[in-house]
Amino acid sequence: MNQKRKIRILVAKPGLDGHDRGARIIARAYRDAGFEVVYSGLHQTPEQIVQAAIQEDVDMIGLSSLAGAHMYLFTRVAELLHENGVDDIVICGGGIIPEEDIPKLKKVGIKEIFTPGSTLDDIVKWVKKNVKPRGVSY
């Protein structure tokens, strides 16, 4: 049986938005929850994010956007993953995302959107339930 490996997560800030309070708090909460965390730092293009996700062999990408460009940026990350033949990395997102955009984002492959008021505990629980280390059979 495979050794149970930790869940690996890329927390990423796509685009030019510099609001990183949420992303950094989430990164710390994931680390405290026992996940392995890679934080992209700011101002990443969707290409850079997807490349990092593949190189770092992560199980999930958490995208954060608070400046209104989430529709283009989140969608582009999902498209690029797909174009690279990767369909088993879970993508979730958070930030200032208007209610009406959430179903549209889910449709393009963003599995969950966390809006202001979500607790760290809820987000960690969601990850534990929805993300499994890739390539590990149980």
């Binding site: 685009g15 030019l16 938005d17 510099g18 609001h19 990183d20 309070r21 992303a23 950094r24 708090i25 990164a27 710390r28 909460a29 934080y39 992209s40 730092g41 700011l42 101002h43 293009t45 400046a67 209104g68 460009a69 529709m71 283009y72 940026l73 582009r76 200032i96 208007p98 209610e99 809006t115 202001p116 008021g117 607790t119 760290l120 505990d121």
Partner: protein, 558 residues
């Protein structure tokens, strides 16, 4: 402020009273295990003259308009003139924002304040690959002088001051504003306004980034020097705590890091050879007003006193105006909630009241829907009316510094000053703010506070109405502003049109001259103004900075 005999009597009475209090709560326990501010500062049950016993009224509090300015920088404060009601606005195209500006002026706003979109604040044109999806989303898109001309079209810029929230590309946007005014026949010495231009807090908190800290300081000193000589009514910098607080700092960290940034700018300007009293009167400040009412009022009072002391004692300023901490305030965006958004009107009103009782010179009140999107016209108008009600109905502007002398507020003011000076000493020991930033010191301090606060909300230690208490089953839908879908495409076409109609040889010349000058020691403002007048775009100019000075990458501390 009391004599020893009085204090001895009060001490004895206080002891008795505390005993009685203890007996009462042994029967009915206190409501909370621990009472603390939003910044987690413990608060006691009662404050008395014992808390302000060593306060020297003349030395520590004084009179409005007199050193150390605890009670206000002007002698008349709001008896003479109310604070400037300056609502931050910017959306879509220059044309869209111009329309919003005209509406705000018509509704009684007394100053303009511009929000730029992300590509603009980062120094990219709309047609850059890095700008995809961002045009006009959280502010107005400005690619060239043409956009600046439209942005301020038919607005009385010789009578009304304009503030621009812009940092790495601040010299460029300022150059565009100066060129726009001059093209309208208004001289640079007649215009008034503010550019934020505070890069240190960008590295610490807001993270709109371009070049590394040291060349960024050079550009800032260029603007300070240029402004001092040629644009005397302009504030070339707005030293900002707002974003430090929004990034999750405590009130004391906001106070300390902001003033430490101010110290770094003064030192850099002195190193350039400027006389302290030639530039210090134009340094302006920008603070957050958060929810914890008295802590905020005390913060503003402490900030004024500290800056007065720093300028007089540390930098030997002689002109009292050099010692004035003049500040703009914005209510705390991070205190607003997406849940039950109408509650945000009340939060903003309380925060605005704290700013007014703290003696702000200028105020932006957030709109109830800003946690969801850019504000609608209706929401922005309610936010402005909040200021009108505070100013003209509540009576709080009838007298100066009405909370001065409150045992609680004076004690908080003292404590916050002391703790903030302790931080400043630590930063001095590291070699100043630039060195501290290079060691990620303020970044780490803020990250720790932000995480602690989030945990306190999550476990219910801190109440956020509608989020962890008094939750509603259903969300009331509110209407939010939509940015036109075709905007990006239109803006790219428009900027292409500008590029095709200018003299491209002259643009190249101007950019080459700028690049040469950037490698030397000349003040760059004149070169930048020459380039924008040829309609060089924002990115073309910023690319020169990036080429010559290098690009700063956020270290991603969490």
């Amino acid at each position: 402020m009391f004599n020893k005999k009085d204090l001895d009597r009060i001490r004895a009475d206080n002891k008795k009273w505390q005993q009685a209090f203890k007996e009462s709560v042994s029967k009915t326990p206190e409501r909370l295990k621990r009472f603390s501010t939003v910044s987690d500062r413990p608060i006691r049950n009662l404050y008395t003259p014992l808390d302000t016993g060593d306060l020297d009224y003349s030395k520590d509090v004084g009179f409005p308009g007199q050193y150390p300015f605890t009670r206000g920088v002007q002698p008349t404060m709001y008896r003479g003139k109310l604070w400037t009601m300056r609502m931050f606005a910017g959306l879509g195209s220059a044309r869209d924002t111009n329309k919003r500006f005209h509406l705000l002026v018509k509704e009684g706003q007394t100053g303009l304040s511009t929000a730029f979109d992300m590509p603009t604040v980062m120094g990219y044109d709309t047609d850059s690959a890095r700008s995809r999806g961002e045009c006009g989303r959280c502010g107005v898109a400005i690619d060239s002088l043409k956009d600046m001309e439209i942005l301020f079209e038919d607005l009385p810029i010789d009578r009304i001051t304009a503030s621009m929230t812009i940092n790495p590309p601040a010299p460029v946007l300022w150059a565009m504003y100066i060129a726009m005014a001059e093209n309208r026949g208004i001289s640079r010495s007649a215009i008034g306004g503010t550019i934020q231009n505070d890069m240190l807090k960008e590295f610490i908190a807001q993270k709109t980034l371009m070049c590394p800290p040291r060349p960024s300081m050079r550009l800032i000193v260029d603007t300070i020097e240029f402004g001092t000589k040629e644009v005397p009514r302009w504030n070339p910098i707005s030293i900002s705590g707002y974003h430090i607080r929004e990034a999750g700092s405590t009130a004391v960290q906001e106070l300390a890091f902001t003033l430490a940034d101010g110290i770094a700018y003064v030192e850099a300007a002195l190193e350039r050879g400027l006389d302290v009293d030639s530039f210090a009167p134009r340094l302006s400040f920008f603070f957050n007003s958060h929810l914890d009412f008295f802590e905020e009022v005390a913060k503003f009072r402490a900030a004024r006193r500290m800056w007065g002391r720093i300028m007089k004692e540390r930098f030997k300023a002689r002109d009292p105006r050099s010692m004035w901490l003049r500040f703009h305030t914005q209510t705390a965006g991070c205190s607003l909630t997406a849940q039950q958004p109408y509650n945000n009107i009340i939060r903003t009103a309380l925060e605005a009241l704290a700013a007014v009782l703290g003696g702000t010179q200028s105020l932006h009140t957030n709109a109830l829907d800003e946690v969801l999107a850019l504000p609608t016209e209706e929401a922005a108008t309610i936010a402005l009316r909040t200021q009108h009600i505070i100013a003209e109905e509540s009576g709080v502007a009838n007298t100066i510094d009405p909370l001065g002398g409150s045992f609680f507020v004076e004690r908080l003011t003292n404590d916050m000053e002391e703790e903030a000076f302790e931080y400043i000493r630590k930063i001095d020991d590291m070699g100043g703010m630039v060195a501290a930033i290079e060691r990620n010191y303020p970044q780490k301090e803020i990250a720790d506070s932000a995480y602690r606060y989030q945990k306190q909300i999550d476990n219910g230690d801190k109440t956020v109405v509608g989020v962890n208490k008094y939750m509603a089953e259903e969300m009331l839908p509110i209407e939010t502003l939509q940015v036109e879908a075709k905007l990006e495409e239109k803006q790219i076409q428009w900027t292409n049109q500008v590029k095709n109609s200018r003299n491209n040889r002259k643009v190249r010349d101007a950019l080459e001259k700028l690049a040469d000058a950037a490698q030397g020691d000349d003040n760059l403002m004149h070169y930048i103004i020459d380039a924008v007048k040829e309609y060089a775009t924002l990115q073309e100019i910023c690319d020169v900075f990036r080429d010559v000075f290098g690009v700063y990458r956020d270290p991603g501390v969490y």
